[in-house]
Every structure is written in structure tokens, then in C-alpha cells.
Amino acid sequence: MTEATPVRLHRRVWAQLTSQHPIVVTIFALILGFLVGAIIIMTTTASVLDAWRGIFHNWGAPGHAIKLTFDNVGAAYRTMFTGSVVDPNSLWHSLTTGKNWPVTLTPISETLTYATPLVIVSIGVGIAFQTGIFNIGANGQAVLGGIAGGVVATMVHLPMVIHLPLALLAGVAGGMVAGSVPGILKAFTGAHEVIVTIMLNYVVYAFLLFAVLSTPFQQPGQQNDISRTFDGSAQFPPLFGTASGLRVSYGVLVAAMVVVFAWWFLDRSSLGFDFRVTGANPSAARASGISARSVVVLVFVISGGLAGLAGFVQAASTTHEIDGGFLIGNAGIGFTAITIALLGRNRPMGILWSSLLFAALGVGGRAMQSQTGIPLDLATVIQSVIVLFVATPVLVKEIFRLRAGPVATLKLATQGWGT
């Protein structure tokens, strides 16, 4: 594409669409994810399968089978959309009559509520990835942040203007402590961060059980593993007031600030530049005088601090208490963060959109299950397939026959393992 040969606009757009630009690959991965979901719905819904089995019985049968497939897949994805973004009927009703706004806004409010801690923790993980560091311990760091913030939120009594920021700082500090351990171990002993962070998760989980079962922190009068309820001054108030019943809270503002901070940090600050150089080429970084040790420790402190913040935000905006199952198992946002960071290519804006997508799939999946009976696990399948394809751009490139475009080489988002 030289200056001598002017290219028409549609040609240029087409060239972009068929190139292996990361955004194009991501869009195709999304399409593939929903396609695989459609196939799963088709093959696991008895009525649809029966219709396909009988397609040779009469002339109308194939059409009937196709219609049934689209009805079922359509119903699933429609409920997923109306359950996580907005129900058009309800929106129209609210717009014309001015009533029922809480009902109309519930889906998007839920999606934002779920996305808030995801954005924060995924940005933490993404910053580490950009530095070539695999922080698999974000979940443990988030749990420790939740505990530390929770202790301040339950045992200190102050007016909200001081209490909430103090609890947030405690959450950040908790995450930093958990993050600095693998950071220091890697920087000074060369211990592999993947192993250390994974193992530290279990240490933190055990500490969580200890904390919520010990006298000062445990809910008085309870024998089970649950903390005291956070003071009202250390909870994020709902954005639209308690009366609306909408759960979305001021926590979203924290997430927004983290996105802005991460963008400034990575693109504008000199420390962020050091991080990115180290991630791109460790030897070059060393040659240009960047201290590998301090970068490793600092990236873990920042990544852990963000994870800790996410842990506290999660508790302070939804449950207002933590229990022995806090972020354990399938609820582990620190593990979801790894896939979200991959999907968002470790960039703040990318991570923001990926978090919203993951939250919407989770929230919409719930509505889908309760209305159509298709299990919520389908949402997890779609999430996984999308990430699978994003993590293997070569596969998408081959399937859609994308050409090398303006961004000449596709960097593997997972590179960096073992460095």
C-alpha cells in the first residue's frame, strides 16, 4: 500500500477485516465461541436432536429441524442478552411510561456489579503479563486483600470519608504483602513465580479459614466460618440508592479509576516503560540499565495490590462480609483474571471490554438457565472457547484465512512462560 496507488475506502476496510489485526482475531474468536455454544445447545437439547434424527421422514422435516434449532439457540442467546444487558420490551415500557426503571436496569446493573472486581484484578494480572511475569497467585492476593480490608471494615469505626478509603488501602496493602513474597523470592533466589504463586494461594486459603474462625474477626454468635458484617461506612453504597434494589455500587468508579491508572502507568510513566521493556526483551532491558530485580519485585507489588483491591471491592460492594468460601473454587476471580487478561491482550481497555463480556456471559447465563433450562455451564464453555481461540491466533488465522496485515506479526499472548 504505497502512496502512488490510492486505495478506495471499502478496499481498505476489507483489508483490515481480513488481516490478522488482534481485534479482528478477537472478533472471529467471539464468533467461534458462540458458534460452538450453538452446536452444544443443538446437540444437548432432546427436542432438537429428535428433529434432526427425523429429517428423512418427510419433506417438511429438515425445515422443521432447522427452525427448531434456531428457536432453541435463539431463545438461549436472547435470554442471555436480555438477562445481562437490557430487555428491549422492558426498556420501551420504561421509556414510554417512565415506570419500572429498576426492573429495566437490573440486568446491566448485575453485569457491572460482576465486572467491577474482575476489571481490577485482571488489570493487575495484565500488568504482570506485560512484564513477562506470570502471576497465578492473583486469587490468593485478592483473598488476603479481602481479609485485610475486611478487618479494617469491621474493627475500626470511622466516618465513611475516612473509613472506606482506609479499608481500600488496607485491601491494597494485603494484596501487596501476598504479592511481594513471590516477587522477592523470584528476584533474589530465582524461584519460579508460577510455582510459588500457585502454592501461596493455598497458604492464603488456609489463613482465610483461620481468620474467619478466630474470635475477633468471626461473626459473634456464629460457629461457622463467616466474618463480622462490614460497617455501613466501609460498604460501597449502591449507585442508585438502596430503594432502587439495583446492586451496582460506587465500586464501579474504583474500577474506572484503575483502568485510567493502568493506561497512564503503562503508556506514560517511566516505570511502566521499564516494565514493558523487560517484558519485551529482558536482555535488552538489562543492557539498558533497568534493574531486573526491582522490576520483578515492583511488578508483583503492583499486581498484588490491584488484586487485593479487587478482593476488598468484591466484598464491600456485594456480600459485605467474607466467609470461608470467599473467592474459592469457581468463584476465584483471580483465575478468571488470567483468561480475561489474555482476551484483553493485557491492555487496560481490552481488559475492560473482556471483563464486561465475561460478566455479561455469567449473568446472562443465569437468566438463560432459569428461563430456558439450558445450564449456566454453557456460558463457561463459550468463555473458554473464545479464550482458546484468542490464545491460538494461528488457528483463527487458518480458519478464516486471514492475511498478514498492518500489524505484521501476531504475538502470542501467552509468551513469557519460563522466562
Binding site: 458458534l35 428457536d71 435463539g74 431463545a75 436472547r78 446492586r247 473454587g329 443465569r366 484465512r401
Partner: protein
């Protein structure tokens, strides 16, 4: 390579077409499911509807209600953590469920606040009696499982060859410890009455009597209702301490006890909990001496049917041996008829009120 390329191109093209069609269908189809039928919904705890225990029982109760009245449609949502309780309940409130069944003591707070915010919404909660505002419609379903646990303790004590039986729980909730307390009472009663020289491990009752809302003491707990490995470890420990029958009160964790009994070999058995082990886990029926059952299914079914008919009554239901809300069911191991007779006598005594299920009334025979 070329054929692979061609294949992948075709795949890609096909998926593009399908994807576009899907999107267009999503955009055009009109909402078809008009909610005319009565809808019964259950929010399960983290165990999910396949825990072969009380979440499964609650879901089965909805299934039974649907069988009795086919016009009822049923739906469930599982919680991945306690953070899911509130959104799951809210989802069902927005979908106008006729009755929402929540499962377990842990969902008390979420159910209470949802009921207070939506006074017209009918709720039934298993294993709990929430304190709610006046004018709300919440039915608490509770079960005096220490009565059947007592009979289970007698059965275990009577079947033990090594002179020791054991119990452990998931978490120290009253709904769990009540079982363990009754079990220990049954063992001690059997020991004292029939001089059987058998002791109970895993639970030391505190002073005083147990009630549905408090039942204190010290015991062995796995800390959750999902970690089968912990259940296996605890059970193996009990076996090595000389026990030969173990009574897990921990939902699906009990499957770990089954694994441990299999590993320990002949003569090691499990007493199942909540709902009949031989029905829930038929392949291991020969390992179950019996089940201390809780009538979750019939009581949930009754609550759903009454809500569908419009005769739903808020308040509380307490299952006992007398109203079959809790019962001892025999398993796949042959029980001597003499022992069965002793248990039947004790059952009549408990119902009549002449036999106490408080373990502190039966001091340990030294």
C-alpha cells in the same frame, strides 16, 4: 496441508453464515414463553443439585411436585459461592416464581432480606427458620433429626464388631450437629441399656439439651460440604482409631467415607445421611448399614403444592419421627431382627416422649 486449509475455509464460511443467522434470529424472534403456569424455583447451595444429599433432595421435592401437578414448571440455579445467593434469588424474583425454595442455614441472611424486600414473594427455606418481618411469606422447614439420629446411633452401635463407631460433620451448624448429637445419644443409650461396650467418636456434646437452633459441642468437621478427600481422610483416621461404622453428616463429602470404607475392606460400613443412600448411590448400597433420613423431599413437595393451590402458609414446619419428617431407613447390610426390634421399641419411646434424645442423660459407661 492444502486440504486442511480448504476444510478450515469451509468451516469458517459455514460458521460465519450460522453466526449471522443466529444473530438475526436473536434479533427477530418474539418472546414466546408467556408465564401462565405456576413456576417453582430452587436456589441450591454450592453442592448443587447433584450432591446426592440435601440440595438434591430439595430439587427432587420440586420434581415430585411437578409429577403430582404437571401444570407446575420447575427451575433451579446453583450457587458457586455465597456471593451468588442474592443474585440467584433476585433472578427468580424477577421471573415471577410462584415459590422460591432456598436450601440451607447459610442462605438465611439472603432469604431474610429478599423476603423483607418482597413481602408478597413466597419462600420456603430448608433447614432454617429465618426471623422475618410481619406480613412476609416465608416457610421455614426444620427437622428434629436427633430423633432419627438416635435410632441411627443404636443401629451403628448394635452392628459394630470392634466396639467403636464415629461421626463427623461438614460445618458446625445446628442442622448438622443435631444429627451428630442424636447419633451419640443413641450409641450411649445402646451402650448403657444393653451393656454392649461400644463408644462413639467424633462428637462430644456440650452440657444442656439441643434445640433446632442451637446444638453445641466439640467434634470433627471437614469445614465444607464438598471436599470428599477430607471426608476420606477423616474416615480413614476413625477406622485406624478402631471404629468400623462411620456416620458422615456432610452432604457429598460422605462419598469420601464410602471410598474409605471400600479401601479399608470387609467389615467397614457407612451410615448415610439426609436421603436414602441405596437410592442416591445404588452401586455402594452394600456398604450402607442405613440412612438417617430427613424428609426434605416430601416437605418441599408439600410446600410447593400448597403454594400452587394457593393454600401456602408461612411460618414453620418441624419434621419429627411421628410425622415422618425424619426417619431411620435400613440399607444394604443385613440387620439382625433382634436389633430391629430394639430400635422399634426405642422409636415408640421417643415418639411417646419416654426416651430422651439428649446424650447427657446417658453418661459414658467406663
Amino acid at each position: 496441508m492444502r486440504s486442511i486449509r480448504r476444510l478450515s475455509t469451509m468451516l469458517g464460511a459455514a460458521s460465519l453464515v450460522l453466526g449471522t443467522l443466529t444473530v438475526s434470529v436473536v434479533a427477530t424472534t418474539v418472546s414466546a414463553s408467556a408465564a401462565t403456569k405456576f413456576k417453582a424455583c430452587v436456589v441450591t447451595d454450592t453442592g448443587g443439585i447433584n450432591d446426592k444429599s440435601f440440595n438434591a433432595s430439595a430439587w427432587a421435592g420440586l420434581g415430585d411436585a411437578k409429577k403430582s401437578d404437571p401444570s407446575i414448571s420447575i427451575s433451579y440455579l446453583s450457587s458457586t459461592s455465597s456471593a451468588d445467593y442474592v443474585p440467584n434469588i433476585n433472578t427468580f424474583i424477577h421471573e415471577s416464581c410462584g415459590v422460591i425454595v432456598t436450601v440451607g442455614f447459610l442462605m438465611d441472611a439472603a432469604t431474610t432480606s429478599a423476603a423483607n424486600a418482597h413481602p408478597t414473594q413466597k419462600f420456603a427455606i430448608v433447614d432454617d427458620a429465618p426471623v422475618v418481618k410481619k406480613g412476609t411469606s416465608v416457610l421455614g422447614l426444620q427437622y428434629e433429626t436427633d430423633q432419627a439420629g438416635f435410632l441411627g446411633g443404636m443401629l451403628a452401635a448394635g452392628m459394630s464388631k470392634k466396639g467403636a463407631v464415629a461421626t463427623y460433620g461438614g460445618e458446625p451448624f445446628p442442622s448438622v450437629t443435631l444429627y451428630m448429637n442424636g447419633f451419640v445419644a443413641g450409641v450411649r443409650y445402646y451402650d448403657k441399656t444393653y451393656h454392649a461396650k461400644v463408644k462413639a467418636l467424633g462428637w462430644t456434646p456440650a452440657k444442656g439439651a439441643c434445640s433446632l437452633s442451637t446444638c453445641n459441642g466439640k467434634g470433627t468437621f471437614t469445614g465444607n460440604f464438598t471436599d470428599q478427600t477430607a471426608g476420606k481422610t477423616d474416615t480413614s483416621t476413625f477406622f485406624s482409631e478402631g471404629a468400623d461404622i462411620v456416620f458422615p453428616v456432610a452432604g457429598s463429602v460422605g462419598l469420601g467415607s464410602v471410598a474409605a470404607a471400600k479401601q479399608a475392606g470387609k467389615g467397614h460400613y457407612v451410615m448415610w445421611v439426609d436421603s436414602n443412600g441405596c437410592t442416591k448411590d445404588p452401586s455402594d448400597c452394600s456398604l450402607f448399614v442405613g440412612t438417617v433420613a430427613k424428609g426434605v423431599e416430601p416437605s418441599v413437595e408439600a410446600a410447593v403444592l400448597s403454594a400452587a393451590k394457593g393454600t401456602f402458609k408461612a411460618g414453620s414446619y418441624v419434621g419429627t419421627l411421628a410425622n415422618k419428617g425424619t426417619a431411620l431407613e435400613y440399607g444394604g447390610v443385613t440387620i439382625p431382627s433382634a436389633l430391629k426390634a430394639k430400635i422399634a421399641t426405642a422409636k415408640a419411646g421417643i415418639i411417646a416422649g419416654t426416651i430422651s434424645v439428649n446424650p447427657n442423660n446417658y453418661p459414658v459407661v467406663k
